[in-house]
Symmetry: C2
Subunit: 197 residues, 2 copies
């Protein structure tokens, strides 16, 4: 039996395993998708049932420009299939996130994306502040760590309180959508323009 790319694609979406592994699994199982799945699970290759490892290459580009045209944002929100991308819930999430970027002006997506120089500067600022306030040396690291967490919540989109429900972070909202849709969902990139900014 011939193994077609669409068979591979389906198996890949169902298991999150790599292309070559899916091809081999289908060949080994004579093209039977259920046997191929079992093969991948046996080999531990479908471990990527962890959705976060699955390729998210569909989705939406969404823009939001605030009234008056002085500030706007463009965002790419990815999911795994065009089917999910076309749902109202996904569209609403993309729109809300573009609005969030306009409203809160995040520096980057996640703490790991903060430029090292900027991070060092923040750290040393917090250290100096703590020392100037006469805090004992042994607790300064803890104080700095606490302030950094607050800083992340300010400048990292995924760590920010969600503008429509500040009990949840943006990542919480995305995680809810992952649970609801059954697909991996990620913010791939965003950009924000402010007039003369």
């Amino acid at each position: 039996m011939e193994i077609t790319t669409s068979m591979i694609k389906e198996l890949r979406q169902a298991t999150g395993a790599g292309v070559l592994d899916c091809k081999k699994a289908l060949e080994t199982s004579g093209g039977d998708p259920e046997k191929a799945k079992a093969y991948l699970q046996e080999k531990g290759l479908a471990a990527a049932a962890k959705k976060a490892d699955r390729a998210a290459e569909e989705g939406l580009i969404e823009a939001y420009v605030h009234a008056g045209g002085r500030v706007g944002a463009l965002i790419e929100l990815n999911c795994e299939t065009d089917f999910v991308a076309r749902t109202e819930a996904f569209k609403e999430l993309a729109h809300d996130l573009a609005m969030q970027v306009v409203a809160t002006n995040p520096l980057c997506l996640a703490p790991a994306d903060i430029p090292p120089g900027v991070l060092e500067e923040e750290k040393s600022k917090y250290q100096t502040q703590a020392r100037d306030m006469g805090k004992p040396e042994r607790i300064i690291d803890r104080i700095v760590e606490g302030k950094l967490q607050k800083y992340y919540q300010e400048v990292c989109l995924l760590e920010q309180p969600f503008i429509k429900d500040d009990d949840l972070t943006v990542q919480d909202i995305i995680t809810q959508m992952i649970a609801k849709s059954g697909e991996n969902i990620v913010v791939r990139r965003f950009v924000r323009f402010e007039l003369g900014g």
Copy 2:
């Protein structure tokens, strides 16, 4: 008489001269704006009546996302006053340019913005092509120059044919708007996202 920053700003907008020159002109002329203008003209410092040298810091952020949400663009179009930014003609221009970016995927604004490595690669590609076709050495430079002009028209937003009237370039359309509004108008920046791109 005290020289205020708003006096300097006004003189600057009227003449396009630098901040320090405007300040000195106002001091020399005892704060009289007409005398200050004459002073700048005398010194050749108001030569910047050329609109292209005038500060354009107002304008609009505009977005366009193509139906289906697979590609979108964000653009900053600057003019000199909020008054011009709010006109229908300016809004339409901003919208058309965002659409142009989505439709034609420009690499940059102008030839000077093409990364040197990319430009060198294009040049040497055209040279090789011309030699492979047996063109005489003495005309190769001219052939390469001609091909480069075509390349600019493809990848530089301002050199591209305007999507709504391909007899004109984008820069022609902007120049028309400069003439119509009497203000300097510039595309400051743009970005284009394509799904998975």
